[in-house]
């Protein structure tokens, strides 16, 4: 179920209080930005901020909450030969495949993560025990726009922009001392997931440190544009 709210007079205080909430909008993201969304949408029980008021005047980097995007963990002893959700598993650890709206990250010998990032409805995983839906277990954030490398320099010592690695690629390690799974799509789009419990404080710290490079909250529309650009130019599969 979805319903779009073009509320022009959304009150301050975050997405939880903007516009009429549909009866099924029961789900809550771990992240609440202290900013006014101009447009929100209720989707699968989540209230999703599509655009913030300041985005029109803000040319800098944005932090977008994608915690509502569905994600699955898939584990199998012979994962390399499997096709979870009919997706080819990247050959090497750290490789990422982009297949339409689905992204598959090869984490290790036995494990991949699958993210649904497109506009189409998320697929239903086949009834295999190897799949675990982990949407609710993670906070998912996208760093979008110019100066993303400068923002991330404040947050992690990981080499997220190693020019020797072909984008998109996966890095697993600490950001703000929190274990994260990070996919670098391009220099203006990096997506990371982390344990949901850290989400609120992590986003607060990221915005605080990233403010030195102009980081501000952003809506999902900005992410969609960046994802479309990045996947148009990145190697897929």
């Amino acid at each position: 179920m979805s319903g779009r709210d073009e509320s022009a007079a959304a009150p301050a205080g975050g997405i939880a209080r903007t516009g009429p909430i549909a009866p099924t909008a029961h789900r809550r993201s771990p992240v609440v930005f202290d900013a006014n969304p101009a447009t929100t949408e209720v989707r699968d029980g989540w209230t999703v901020a599509l655009r913030y008021r300041h985005e029109e005047q803000h040319a800098g980097p944005l932090l977008v909450d994608l915690s509502h995007r569905r994600r699955w963990d898939y584990q199998d002893g012979s994962v390399a030969t499997q096709r979870p959700m009919d997706l080819p598993v990247p050959r090497e650890y750290g490789q990422v495949g982009v297949h339409g709206s689905l992204v598959i990250n090869r984490m290790n010998r036995t494990q991949v993560a699958i993210w649904h990032l497109g506009d189409d409805p998320a697929p239903t995983p086949p009834p295999e025990t190897a799949f675990t839906e982990i949407t609710d277990g993670h906070c998912m954030l996208a760093f979008v726009g110019p100066e993303v490398p400068a923002v991330l320099e404040h947050l992690t010592s990981l080499d997220l922009f190693d020019p020797a690695r072909a984008t998109p690629f996966l890095t697993q390690g600490p950001v703000l001392h929190v274990p994260c799974q990070i996919v670098t799509f391009s220099s203006d789009l990096v997506i990371m997931t982390l344990a949901r419990g850290y989400g609120e404080m992590f986003a607060h710290a990221a915005l605080h440190s990233g403010a030195l490079a102009g980081l501000r909250p952003g809506g999902e529309d900005a992410f969609k544009r960046a994802f479309a650009r990045a996947t148009a130019t990145s190697a897929c599969g």
Binding site: A130, E133, D136, P163
Partner: protein, 1045 residues
């Protein structure tokens, strides 16, 4: 600051009059913008400097000559160095003590104060202390004032008051502003942005490598940046400026100016910090740069000349005088005597003369090796020059009024009247970075300096610190270092790839020159060419081993260390008492232990000790002392970093906040501990016992395990027979370590043929996956684990009315028949949210534990709160849960267990499947060996005897005291004057009306009915005692009827 462009002083270019009598028309090298005046005050006196000035240059330009007083003797100290090499200009700036005026850029409104001064620096009331020098020999504080020892605190405090270096007010916030930290990953980190460093950066960057240059000054160019001497038809400053422009324009070179390096750590982690300028959004930024290779091109500094009264204001190093004039446009003095030991000093003398300083004489301690062109220029300028002479005494009181020079052979003295003595003994490399990269340093008798004897494979050295002085040699050495760094990166597998910078890899660099070499032929050729070019140019110049002038002593002080007031005489005293090596003398006499560290003192101290050893027939080679980071100190606030505390919050944090929760950190989680100011949690406890309560237990570990070998893994890790786990039932079990100690407990639910769901304690959730993998690492089993702790929140609905509340939010049958104790069901609540519901009883009451998808937790919480409103349901915190479970006798790992007790000691041996040896259960062998071992500690319950408690002092108000009085958690149990155990948890039960607890005691005191004497020292003379009787540790509902209701 925007004034750091060469030639910023318009006055110099057009010859117009400078802004103050002390300002010079210094020309194109000047970094000060006279069009941008900045007001500040010194000791309350208003002064004016300019953008681009440092605090020191601005003070000097305003006629200030005494900046501070020395640490021990309170001697007047002025501008001796220019880049913070010594602490003579450490001042209190805007209330912050120990700020280096030489490196602190001037800002409008600054308030500057002298340090270590009583009154005005010119008339310091403690200025007489120097007359008592005899009472303060080297290491006097190790010997004086210790007998009788009771006097020492008085003496020590007096010393500290006398010799303090600034005062901090703990109530004040100093220098508010953003302290950032940033991380870099590069292929080549270049330390030093001189011409060698810049060439190295360019050479590496041209191969597509990512390069970062750390430069401590606001601009690049090193000592070429202020030299007007021409090289190959162009002034050095102009060449440096053009090179800087090229470097800054190179996309893959990151230039960090105002960024001193603090050290190089393991795996080439280069740390440094940037001091924020006007345009920066931070006050200081800490850098951590991980580099594949490091090029050290840190340059040289003046090596001080030790002579009588070499600390007088007006005595300064050539670099200081020269840069004061050339960089800041400030005249160092009117009439100067120059005593140097290298060609840069001679060049400074020539240049100062051209800038209008009257140089009366130039003496050089070297016998040979002078640059003939410089000697010719001195001759042309009619400046008297003497070789093998040096300054021996600065005259004057609070400022230099003259100088004596002596010949090394004893001829002299020649006396001159002057207000400036420019002196050094030569140059010494800045070896700090080399020391932190663990280079082995040795003394070079050609350059008379420390040079690397052995370098790590991934560290390269370039520039003037290798003894080179020819500008062409310096730049070529930098280029060679950059190429070698690139070759190293290539050998390590880094592609010298053109796509990194969007252009083709230089021709021929696509492949290795030979198998196994992995260095492209063109790169090898470039290295060979640079090597031969460097070899064809002038090599390292000869230095001088001279460190002091003639006639040291003779009623005057000659300082080796200006920071700690360490004199030449003190070095001799140290050696005479057996501290005859630099590392020993350094500690005994304090040489080099001041803020300047090794910079001024290091090499001279070693040379003096070596010379003294030579005199006595001992060691003759100056040995370097250890240099430790931080090479340049950042502020503590910068090291502390941004004020982030990234921890975990449960999905119900906001709801609990709204209900008045008081939170505490528990591991990574922030959890609700109380819901009132009452630490006994009386209302919360009684609410659960008599009605119903709601607890957020979301941090509880939650896991999926599946695969053909999932059961094998469970059998290995859990101590029970896990084959008994079956669908719809919770099976309680525990994990032990190899020593049989309890590590974790929780419930396991079989959900499918090869799939299980299990819970762990909150504390162990983060390590459970590794625990399984570690203990099955050799078995090759096919099973998989998913940590879903954060996927599911957990709400514990507990109390006699729990079922009635739950029935209001679900249509599923939750009656006792359909859903018995230890059952597990999937039920639907509210608008269709499916949750796992586990019927457990940790708090000893009818309980339903709802495991809810985290994003729905707030919704489900709201449902339950609404449904429980009619019953007066209240949320409860962890402390209430702790009391409730203790009443029931349920243990918490770590509270009622520890490393001295095993599973059987705490009454949980019933879980252990003793017949199973095939599974190789973790901890089973230890349990077999120790379960029947006599004399072990045992977990017991106890009931405090009524009226037995006594205490001395204000116990109720004492920290750690229990509500209601009596010893608390951790109190010891004593018998016959011996400690025989301790209290794990004790509370006064609101339900039972008496005080109970659990304790670990020696077995002989664990029998039911045994008496326990409990003692607690609460400090400050307060103690608490009581007696108790050992009882069964199930105080509440021992038959479990309530939780099965």
């Amino acid at each position: 600051m925007t004034a750091h462009r060469p030639g910023a002083v318009a006055a110099a270019a057009d010859g117009s009059r400078p802004a103050s009598p002390h300002r010079l028309p210094c020309g194109s090298t000047c970094r000060v913008d006279l069009s941008r005046p900045l007001s500040f005050d010194f000791l309350g006196r208003p002064m004016t400097g300019f953008a681009g000035d440092t605090v020191a240059s601005a003070l000097y330009a305003n006629g200030v000559r005494i900046f501070s007083r020395s640490l021990k003797y309170h001697r007047p100290r002025g501008l001796y160095s220019i880049e913070g090499e010594s602490a003579t200009t450490y001042m209190a700036i805007d209330g912050v003590p120990n700020e280096c005026a030489e490196t602190t850029e001037l800002r409008a409104g600054m308030s500057v104060r002298a340090q270590n001064v009583r009154g005005d620096p010119k008339t310091d009331r403690f200025g007489f202390i120097g007359a008592f020098e005899r009472l303060m020999p080297a290491g006097f504080y190790y010997r004086l004032g210790h007998r009788p020892y009771s006097l020492w605190p008085l003496f020590q405090n007096g010393l500290r008051r006398m010799a303090g270096t600034g005062v901090l007010d703990p109530r004040r916030e100093y220098r508010p502003g953003v302290r950032a930290e940033r991380y870099l990953n590069v292929d080549v980190a270049v330390v030093g942005g001189g011409t060698a460093g810049m060439e190295a950066a360019l050479a590496a960057a041209e191969r597509g490598l990512r390069v970062c240059v750390f430069e401590r000054r606001p601009w690049m160019g090193g000592h070429h940046a202020w030299r007007v001497r021409e090289f190959e038809g162009k002034p050095l400053w102009q060449r440096a400026s053009e090179l800087e422009a090229r470097v800054r324009a190179t996309e893959n070179v990151r230039v960090l100016t105002r960024s001193p390096v603090t050290g190089v750590w393991g795996e080439n982690l280069v740390t440094g910090f940037t001091v924020g300028g006007d345009d920066d959004p931070f006050r200081e930024c800490h850098w951590e740069c991980r580099a594949r290779t490091v090029v050290v091109a840190a340059g040289c500094m003046d090596r001080p000349l030790v002579f009588n009264h070499n600390d007088r204001p007006g005595v300064m190093q050539p670099g200081a005088a020269w840069r004061l004039a050339r960089t800041y446009g400030v005249s160092p003095g009117k009439v100067a005597v120059v005593s140097v030991g290298d060609d840069l000093g001679l060049e400074a003398a020539v240049d100062l003369t051209r800038l209008g300083v009257e140089v009366r004489a130039v003496v050089d301690s070297r016998r040979r090796g002078h640059d003939p062109a410089l000697l010719e220029e001195l001759y042309d300028l009619r400046i008297p020059f003497r070789s093998r002479w040096s300054a021996s005494r600065a005259k004057g009181g609070k400022h230099v009024t003259g100088c004596d020079v002596w010949g090394m052979s004893g001829i002299g003295p020649n006396s001159y009247t002057c207000d400036l003595v420019v002196a050094n003994a030569g140059a010494q490399p800045r070896i700090g970075v080399l020391a932190t990269v663990k280079a082995k340093l040795g003394y070079c008798r050609h350059t008379h300096s420390y040079q690397p004897v052995e370098l790590p494979d991934d560290v390269f050295v370039a520039g003037s610190m290798t003894g080179l002085r020819d500008p062409g040699s310096i730049t070529e050495s930098g280029r060679l270092a950059g190429l070698r760094a690139a070759a190293f990166c290539r050998r390590q597998g880094t592609a010298l790839d053109a796509r990194r910078i969007g252009r083709a890899e230089p021709a021929g660099e696509a492949g290795p020159s030979s198998p196994g070499d992995n260095c492209p032929p063109a790169l090898s050729a470039a290295i060979e060419k640079a090597t031969s070019t460097l070899a064809s140019r002038p090599g390292p110049v000869a230095g001088t081993g001279i460190f002091r002038g003639q006639g040291i002593g003779r009623g005057a002080k000659a300082f080796v260390d200006l920071d700690e007031d360490g004199t030449y005489k003190n070095v001799v005293e140290s050696a005479a008492q057996g501290f005859d090596a630099p590392e020993l003398a350094k500690r005994f006499g304090g040489f080099g232990l001041g803020p300047g560290q090794y910079r001024v003192t290091g090499q001279n101290l070693a040379m003096i000790m070596a010379a003294m050893g030579l005199d006595s027939g001992k060691a003759t080679v100056p040995a370097p002392t250890t240099v430790r980071p931080p090479l340049v100190p950042p502020s503590l606030a910068t090291l502390a970093g941004p004020p982030h505390d990234v921890h975990k919050r449960t999905p119900l944090h906001d709801e609990q906040t709204a209900r008045g929760a008081i939170f505490r950190r528990m591991g990574p989680w922030e959890r609700a501990r109380y819901f009132s100011e009452d630490p006994s949690c009386r209302d919360e406890i009684l609410g659960v016992r008599r009605n119903v309560g709601l607890l957020d237990s979301s941090p509880l570990g939650k896991f999926r395990i599946f695969g053909p070998d999932a059961l094998n893994a469970l059998q290995r890790v859990y101590i029970s027979d896990m084959r008994k786990a079956r669908p719809g039932r919770c099976m309680y079990s525990a994990m032990c370590n190899d020593m049989g100690q309890l590590m974790d407990d929780g419930v396991v639910v079989k959900e499918s043929e090869n799939g299980y769901y299990f819970t762990t304690s909150s504390a162990r959730a983060g390590t459970t996956v590794e625990w399984f993998r570690y203990h099955t690492r050799y078995d090759g089993w096919d099973y998989h684990l998913v940590n879903i702790t954060d996927v599911l929140g957990s709400l514990n609905l507990a109390g006699p009315n729990a079922r009635r509340v739950l029935e209001r939010v679900t249509r599923d049958d939750v009656s006792n028949d359909a859903f018995p104790y230890m059952g597990v069901r999937r039920i639907t609540v509210g608008d269709g949210v499916e949750v796992r519901c586990l019927r457990l009883g940790f708090v000893g009451e009818l309980s339903f534990e709802l495991h809810v998808p985290s994003s729905y937790c707030q919704y489900v919480w709201g449902l339950l709160v609404d449904a429980g409103a009619d019953f007066g349901m209240q949320p409860i915190g962890l402390e209430a849960q702790n009391c409730l479970r203790a009443e029931k006798g349920h243990i918490i790992i770590g509270a009622e267990s520890e490393q001295r007790v095993i599973l059987t000691d705490i009454g949980m041996g019933w879980m252990w499947d003793r017949r199973d040896t095939a599974s190789k259960k973790v901890g089973a062998p230890a349990l077999r060996a120790c379960a029947e071992q006599p004399g072990r500690m045992k977990l017991v319950g106890f009931r405090v005897d009524e009226g037995s408690g006594s205490h001395r002092g204000d116990l109720e108000a004492a920290p750690g005291a229990q509500p209601g009085g009596g010893p608390g958690d951790g109190a010891v149990i004593v018998a016959d004057g011996e400690v025989v155990g301790y209290v794990c948890t004790t509370r006064r039960s609101e339900t039972l009306g008496w005080r109970y607890g659990m304790a670990l005691v020696r077995e002989e005191h664990a029998a039911r009915g045994a008496g326990l004497n409990i003692y607690e020292n609460l400090g400050s003379g307060r103690k608490s005692t009581c007696s108790a009787t050992v009882v069964a540790p199930h105080f509440y509902d021992p038959r479990g009827e309530r939780l099965r209701a």
